[in-house]
């Protein structure tokens, strides 16, 4: 199992840097993972996206469709990509502590 270190905390991750144990996730983990991706300050919009992804995951066991993310947060599609430059999967889902989604992402 690979590890990454951010601000003196070490996390076990899969080869793609997704959290190995999604259940240890909390807001501090999100903040650190975002920082690792170059997002120094998580704003309200970032949190709105993370919260909807996280609650969908806890409820249904997978990442929500981008339509749901936009609908629930009121954000426009292009804003989501700007907030998480690595995209909803490798960017937002990773910060939300989900396992890597299957497919070309």
């Amino acid at each position: 199992m690979a590890t990454i270190q951010i601000e003196n905390r070490t996390f076990e991750v899969d080869g793609d840097g997704f959290l190995a144990s999604p259940n240890i996730w909390d807001k501090e983990v999100a903040r650190l993972f975002a920082k690792y991706d170059g997002i120094d300050e998580m704003n309200e919009k970032h949190w709105a996206i993370i919260n909807i992804i996280r609650s969908n995951y806890e409820e249904k066991g997978n990442a929500p469709m981008i339509r749901v993310i936009c609908k629930e947060t009121g954000l426009r599609l292009r804003e989501v990509y700007e907030l998480f430059p690595l995209g909803p999967a490798r960017g937002a889902c990773r910060v939300a502590g989900l396992p890597k989604p299957d497919g070309c992402v």
Partner: protein, 431 residues
């Protein structure tokens, strides 16, 4: 060294039997060790270790073949470099054939005697798959496709809701409430497919294609039962699973009675369905199959859509997906489109059939196991892009888009990555 059960070995060795033609045997016996393939490989270039030379990967498969299928290999294995299929061999094969090859085929074009090296690699992968050693993450993507009908496990309801949402967006964009994203309609000219990552996370390319269809006044539809253009079983060499996936799209074409099957911008999906598909299912298609790049180029040529290249002034370059350009011969179409759609275009060096793989092909993006290596080999592509000075990289492959997005972030390129349809949609003149 760890021994493997006879049964397991037997399953692996099945790949050397029952070949429909003699291609495999010819290609396993043909390498003259000239070494010309070495420099063509992105892995060897990024990590100059002998084990990454394509000929070495061929020899790994050939050495197992010799051990079990030739007289000298059976009797004097040590003298002819014949290898036993044990744990050590399997581990090395998994690491090099799955973990260090994107099956981009650049070595094939440089091989002095024309060995289809990526075909041999795929045969080696198939051997490993038969024995149960296909990497988990790759197999899980295939399982998801087999179980749910698409590789991201999207439910039909979620899919339909997404298309309806995009339809509203399209109507606003073109200012016409009659603009549609038609679903499950029969007797249309075009059945359009998608990569599941589009409805799940990146739908701008669906909107772009819908806008192009609207402008071209095309008769088209999307199936909500079978729209997935990908076929990851192509990368594990599992023919049974690959057949199921090809047959599903084949059957849906028949069900909906469409004339043309238009494949979304997906390199391996185009290859697996259009070029390999008829061989995989053992029958030819009674309908036309073409990539969306060819379709869009045709729209421009026939005057069905009009573009204003002044709308995009940033310098644009093209990344050629290996499966489309090198394997499929689709090189000029994307250039014809981009030159009509933007003001400033520049080529990467090399490009076209000589282009360097982005590093995400061959299922690499789906295999977390080799993430570090995948990012490392991508430095070559990053430098290649940087040298062009381009601000936008256009590529007709969603898999390449994803790898390029990571390259953009890791190597801080500050570029935009777009599909061909997205660029065309931005340049469209809507009457």
């Amino acid at each position: 060294m760890g021994e493997l059960s006879k049964d397991k070995i037997k399953k692996g060795l099945e790949v050397f039997a029952n070949q429909k033609d003699s291609k495999l045997h010819a290609h396993l016996n043909a390498c003259v060790h000239c070494g010309l393939c070495a420099e063509s490989c992105i892995y060897y270039n990024a990590m100059p270790d002998e084990k990454f030379v394509p000929a070495k990967k061929v020899d790994l498969v050939a050495s197992v073949y010799r051990r079990y299928k030739t007289l000298t290999g059976k009797t004097i294995p040590g003298l002819v470099g014949a290898r036993k299929l044990d744990e050590a061999t399997v581990n090395e094969m998994v690491d090099l054939l799955y973990g260090a090859c994107t099956m981009c085929g650049r070595c094939n074009t440089h091989c002095s005697i024309g060995i289809d090296i990526s075909f041999v690699v795929r045969t080696g992968r198939k051997l490993l798959t038969n024995m149960g050693y296909a990497p988990d993450a790759l197999q899980s993507t295939i399982n998801s496709a087999l179980e749910t009908g698409n590789n991201m496990g999207i439910s039909e309801t979620d899919f339909i809701e997404t298309l309806e949402w995009l339809q509203e967006d399209l109507q606003m964009e073109v200012g016409n409430n009659a603009a549609k994203i038609p679903i499950n309609e029969t007797g249309k000219e075009v059945l359009y497919t998608l990569n599941p990552r589009e409805p799940k996370f990146f739908p701008l390319s669906i909107s772009a294609m819908a806008k192009i269809f609207y402008a071209a006044n095309e008769s088209w539809t999307i199936s909500t039962k079978m729209y997935d253009v990908t076929n990851y079983a192509y990368y594990t060499g599992n023919e049974v699973e690959s057949q199921i996936i090809v047959n599903r799209l084949f059957d849906e074409m028949q069900n909906l009675g469409a004339k043309k099957c238009v494949l979304a911008e997906c390199g391996h999906g185009s290859r697996a369905f259009r070029w390999e598909g008829p061989n995989v299912i053992g029958k030819s298609y009674p309908f036309e199959v073409l990539t969306s790049v060819e379709l869009i180029a045709g729209y421009i040529r026939d005057g069905r859509i009009k573009l204003d290249p002044e709308k995009i002034k940033d310098l644009v370059t093209i990344h050629d997906p290996c499966n489309l350009a090198r394997s499929g011969g689709i090189v000029e179409e994307q250039r014809y489109i981009i030159k009509n759609a933007v003001t400033n275009f520049t080529e990467m060096t090399p490009s076209g059939i000589e282009n360097l793989c982005c590093g995400g092909g061959g299922g690499q993006l789906a295999m977390s196991e080799y993430n570090e290596r995948r990012i490392k080999i991508a430095r070559i592509k990053a430098e290649q892009i940087q040298k062009t000075g381009a601000k936008i990289v256009a590529t007709p492959c969603h898999n390449c888009v994803d790898q390029l997005t990571q390259i953009n972030s890791t190597y801080k390129l500050g570029i935009q990555i777009k599909t061909i349809a997205e660029i065309v949609a931005d340049a469209l003149i809507i009457d």
